[in-house]
């Protein structure tokens, strides 16, 4: 299940979303954005009113105010920060490991035909294994504590990063490389001045899909036995019948996922400014 989601998540990210989309200016886009909020906010409002007026019970599906109160209580007691910190550390460590491994393997496979022939079939084979299937093995190997969780997240992150950078290197325009060669660039200098900037936009997309999978896998990892973390809040909420806590944790996941993704985009934006100029083409004749 998670695997299918993951694959479609990668597909949609890679095909639809360029790393830095040009920002439209003016009030029209703002109004459209607000329109997008109308549906979820309206639904929440209706639900809140329905429960307050006694039309619905709201025991299994608590109202926004109850969820907010629950979250606030967790925040005041300090538990929320503890769980957030634990989960963030897991995602951070797993993401870092996965990115390093995926990048190294992707560069190796993208840079030489020999490397590709050697690595790619094995990695494609491993990729076909639903990553959750590794869980029992990782627990045997690394124990029930942090190591097995981080390993699982790293595996989830590594594959999209590998595929992204591998494909991006293969797709670099041969003509641009040749233009670099005509300025006597070879080897490391060619990689630094031509390949790296050419690959960067695709690499950022790959990192974003990797990060998305990292968040997905941290939940799976925390399901397999944790005493801290947002995933633990989910399990705990289910076992003790606290739907408000579950929804609060889901909401926190959404905020953190979006925030870390935005951080990644913001960090890469200065290097991708050249892409951010659509629609500003000068119309003067040459």
């Amino acid at each position: 299940m998670i695997r299918a989601d993951a694959v479609s998540a990668i597909d949609s990210l890679a095909s639809v979303e360029p790393a830095a989309r040009p920002r439209r200016r003016g009030g029209a886009s703002l109004r459209l954005a607000l329109l997008g909020l109308a549906l979820p906010l309206g639904a929440l409002l209706v639900w809140e009113i329905a429960v307050r007026l006694g039309w619905a019970q709201g025991r299994l599906m608590p109202t926004p105010s109850v969820v907010a109160a629950n979250l606030a209580q967790l925040a005041v007691s300090g538990d929320l920060w503890l769980h957030i910190r634990t989960t963030l550390l897991r995602v951070g460590a797993g993401f870092a490991l996965g990115v390093v491994a995926g990048t190294a393997l992707g560069v190796l496979a993208g840079a030489s035909a020999l490397g590709r022939a050697l690595i790619d079939p094995t990695l494609q084979g491993l990729r076909a294994i639903p990553s959750i299937a590794w869980v029992p093995l990782f627990i045997l190997w690394f124990g029930i504590l942090e190591a097995s969780k981080i390993a699982l997240i790293a595996v989830g992150v590594a594959f999209p990063v590998y595929l992204g950078i591998f494909g991006a290197i293969l797709a670099v325009d041969r003509k641009i490389i040749e233009a670099g060669r005509s300025f006597r660039l070879e080897g490391v200098a060619l990689a630094r001045r031509i390949l790296f900037p050419a690959v960067l936009p695709h690499y950022v997309v790959a990192l974003r899909s990797g990060l998305g999978l990292g968040w997905m896998f941290v939940v799976a990892a925390e399901f397999m036995g944790a005493s801290e973390g947002l995933g633990y809040l989910l399990v705990d909420g289910q076992q003790l019948g606290k739907p408000a806590q579950i929804i609060g944790a889901i909401f926190t996941f959404a905020v953190l996922g979006k925030a870390t993704d935005a951080l990644l985009v913001a960090a890469s934006a200065p290097f991708l400014r050249w892409q951010d100029t659509l629609g500003q083409t000068s119309g003067e004749g040459g």
Binding site: I176, R181, R184, T281, G286
Partner: protein, 252 residues
């Protein structure tokens, strides 16, 4: 200045792209190479650029063999091939290494001034029109002050007005900097407007069919009777080379 000595190029598939081609080009001379597709004219240019190696024979610049891209040789391709992640100024400065930063800046500014794009220095390549982009490519190739500039059908992707404009532009740049120009084109008129000599190539295997000296003074009038006469001459040679197989020409 540029010496092409009995150069042959056979591709791994066995295709004979060039067979025993020899040509001497003087300093500051403009030579245009024309011919139908598959006559090996682009292959010839790539060998001079050092982007490919000849199967036999050699290419020299001022008696120095070319086996890899040479600092004294600049290349302009059919497409601008600008680096999209660099600004116009950064693109023009791409080949400038060694010089100090202020020196580089001055050279870039001068190069942009020469192609009339001084006020576009901070734009991105994708904000340029086709003609502007190709002018930036010209400036980029000329900024390191190469002794020879190679152009591979540089204006073929542009509309007729922009093309004529850029041809004039190229001539004024050449007048100022006096590099040797080797231009590959399939446009006979372009060859006749620009070149001191027009090399007509024919295919299978790629070789030189004729070399036409163009003695007309510049700027050249495209509708003068002399220009017309030369055009007819070039067409006649070209007509032979692509209509009749080699043995038929020999039989004539």
């Amino acid at each position: 200045m540029l010496t092409i000595q009995s150069v042959s190029k056979i591709y791994p598939g066995g295709a004979h792209a060039l067979s025993n081609v020899s040509l001497d080009i003087d300093a500051a001379e403009i030579v245009a190479v024309i011919g139908g597709s598959g006559c090996g004219k682009s292959t010839l240019l790539r060998l001079v650029a050092g982007l490919d190696r000849p199967s036999s024979g050699r290419v020299l610049i001022d008696h120095e063999p070319i086996s890899a891209p040479h600092p004294a040789v600049g290349v302009v391709f059919q497409e601008p091939r600008l680096f999209p992640w660099l600004t116009v100024a950064q693109n023009v400065g791409f080949g400038l290494s060694g010089a100090s930063k202020p020196q580089q800046g001055a050279r870039v500014a001068a190069a942009l001034q020469r192609v009339g794009l001084a006020d576009h220095a901070r734009r991105w390549p994708r904000q340029l029109s086709g003609g502007q982009a190709q002018r930036v490519a010209l400036a980029r190739a000329l900024a390191p002050q190469p002794r020879a500039l190679l152009l591979d059908e540089p204006f073929s992707a542009l509309d007729a007005f922009t093309r004529a404009d850029l041809q004039d532009h190229l001539l004024s740049l050449w007048d100022e900097l006096r590099p040797t120009l080797l231009l590959v084109t399939h446009d006979i008129e372009e060859a006749l407007v620009l070149a001191d000599r027009v090399v007509v190539m024919q295919s299978r295997p790629g070789r030189i069919a004729a070399v036409l000296p163009i003695a007309l003074p510049r700027p050249r009038d495209r509708i003068s009777p002399e220009f017309d006469e030369l055009k007819r001459e070039a067409l006649r040679i070209l007509g032979h080379s692509w209509r009749a197989p080699p043995h038929a020409i020999a039989a004539e």
